[in-house]
């Protein structure tokens, strides 16, 4: 579910003089040398700056309660009769908002729409098809948990997932009720079996398209991700059925994808509330497959690699959020702020930054896009090039105060621009691309 229209100018420009730039570079060099001798830089058991956790890494209140999908902003808007997606009105003179851009986006959604009754990527439209055991060989058993992990992950990758993590089902992250239109179904009734394991699937969203956010072109990659979620989770659920297990492929529905993604070791939570993967940054879509396959051991552990520390200093997503939905508090909190807002769409009890989803979704409605400015402006949102991997590694062990410098340098290097009207031209530029198999 997604959409926006951009009317504001880029918010991320900073007017540094050349002298300031040189100063910044000199300070950066000195600080990096200093960082090399600080205690924070020493190697840890799981590698420099990378920590694996046996337990869920975010603090959870003992009073935490499960949430209902009927209370999400999407359904609140439905109930209020606010359409956050309207029929597009292309502007052929506005980059990223032309008929071509809208068509690219809407065409990308077609698979998700077609497969929605079987493996719904978008929540609230259909319940998934429940695959009941139909084993090709009734005697089949996985040799051990490690083999099950390896086989399922290989199959998921084969079906198109870029990331796969397997974790034990945790009822805390499951909705109490799931939504089918305006009808609420109890989670247990809708799933029809007792899930033991959740297979988390991650799908990369293209970088060049995301540079054009917020615009329909920026949405196109996200929407395509939903189609991939439907296709892969449906295939994987069918795969598990043929090995003798119950399975159901879902996208956004049934459970909270971010905490499940954290539990499955796919990334860390962020200020903007999205999962941040080490390889793709926040530029991913997440799907889930629930199954009653029960494993003795789960090998994917939650990981942290300095993202929370970076988010405390960076603020790019909050600065660039057109609806001011992302908080600017330096520290995460256990609940949303008492600011007079009806925070009924938010579930307190987890230490994180609480995003005002109603404000966010209102901007979707106003702009007829799904915005994604936060993803575009995030310094972790980079294409797969060696120098970005190098900086990401450096951020894993650099001390907190340097993260602000790294975030500033990111802007000065030209990354993280939102409302970037040159980005669509780069996306559509045919120069240097080869479609016939000749060339790179």
């Amino acid at each position: 579910m997604s959409e926006i229209l951009a009317e504001e100018e880029c918010l991320s420009q900073s007017g540094q003089s050349r002298r300031n730039l040189l100063k910044l570079g000199a300070v950066g060099g000195a600080a990096m040398i200093a960082a090399g001798v600080t205690p924070a830089a020493k190697a840890r058991e799981d590698g420099i700056g990378l920590v694996k956790h046996d337990a869920f890494p975010l603090k959870i209140s003992p009073n935490y309660q499960r949430f209902s999908e009927m209370d999400t902003s999407f359904h609140r808007f439905n109930k209020a009769g606010i359409a956050f997606y309207k029929r597009p009105k292309p502007d052929e003179n506005k980059p990223g908002f032309t008929s071509i851009d809208y068509a690219l986006k809407m065409g990308g959604r077609s698979v998700a729409n077609a497969l929605s009754p079987y493996a719904p990527a978008y929540e609230g439209y259909h319940l998934p098809k429940i695959f009941k055991p139909n084993a090709l060989n009734s005697e089949f058993r996985f040799k051990d948990s490690a083999t099950a992990h390896a086989v399922i992950k290989r199959a998921a990758r084969h079906y198109g997932a870029d990331l796969v993590g397997i974790t034990r089902r945790d009822p805390r992250w499951d909705y109490t009720h799931v939504r089918e239109g305006n009808t609420a179904h109890k989670f247990e009734d809708a799933l029809q079996f007792e899930p033991k394991t959740v297979i988390m699937l991650g799908f990369e969203v293209g970088y060049e398209g995301m540079r054009a956010a917020p615009s329909p072109l920026g949405d196109a990659g996200q929407v395509d991700g939903y189609s991939k979620m439907s296709k892969t989770s449906l295939q994987l659920a069918s795969f598990l059925q043929l090995l003798g297990f119950h399975a159901a492929g879902v996208g956004n529905s049934f459970g909270l994808s971010v905490p499940y993604g954290i539990a499955a070791g796919l990334g860390e939570n962020t200020r903007m509330g999205l999962l941040l993967n080490h390889k793709y940054g926040p530029r991913i879509r997440l799907g889930k497959v629930y199954t009653d396959l029960d494993l003795d051991e789960y090998f994917d552990k939650p990981v942290t690699f300095g993202v929370e520390s970076f988010c405390k200093k960076c603020m790019h997503c909050a600065d660039n959020c057109p609806s001011k939905a992302i908080p600017k508090d330096e520290e995460p909190s256990m609940g949303p702020p008492d600011d007079g807002t009806d925070w009924g769409f938010s579930n307190p009890g987890v230490r994180k930054w609480y995003v005002n989803c109603d404000k966010c979704l209102q901007y979707w409605a106003d702009s007829n896009t799904s915005c994604s400015s936060c993803i575009t402006s995030c310094p972790y949102n980079k294409p797969n090039f060696w120098h970005h991997r190098l900086i990401d590694k450096a951020n894993m062990f650099l001390p907190g105060p340097l993260h602000k410098l790294m975030a500033d340098m990111d802007l000065l290097h030209g990354y993280g621009k939102t409302f970037n009207e040159t980005a669509p031209a780069v996306f559509w530029d045919d120069k240097g691309r080869s479609y016939d198999g000749f060339g790179d």
């Binding site: 570079g25 120098h387 290097h413 030209g414």
Partner: protein
């Protein structure tokens, strides 16, 4: 930058970086043998050349990923300091050894 359609831009880049690194090492050896450059000057020069080579890698990669501002910014904050360090190292390396007055008188 396609390497005759066989290699990607990054592959071609890293090939030439290898050539540059080899040329740098050969230059340092030449300075040591022919000009009897001090180890300190060679270390400074190596640091400067290494920084410049690093920036070439960064800048070309930025162009390949279509972020030219990153390339120009890197020239400012990486290449120029590297150039200054390299010039300093080269001046140290090429400096003629001073002869103490007492020794000069004796000879």
């Amino acid at each position: 930058m396609s390497g005759l359609g066989i290699f990607s831009g990054i592959e071609v880049l890293f090939f030439w970086l290898g050539v540059l690194c080899l040329a740098t090492v050969q230059g340092l050896i030449w300075l040591r043998i022919k000009h009897n450059a001090s180890w300190l000057s060679l270390a400074v020069l190596a640091m400067g050349c290494g920084t410049m080579i690093f920036d070439i890698a960064w800048a070309v990669s930025s162009v390949l990923e279509k972020e030219p501002q990153s390339a120009s910014m890197s020239v400012l904050v990486i290449f120029l300091p590297g150039l200054l360090i390299a010039i300093w190292g080269a001046r140290l390396a090429m400096r003629k050894p001073t002869i103490a007055p007492s020794i000069a008188t004796e000879s």
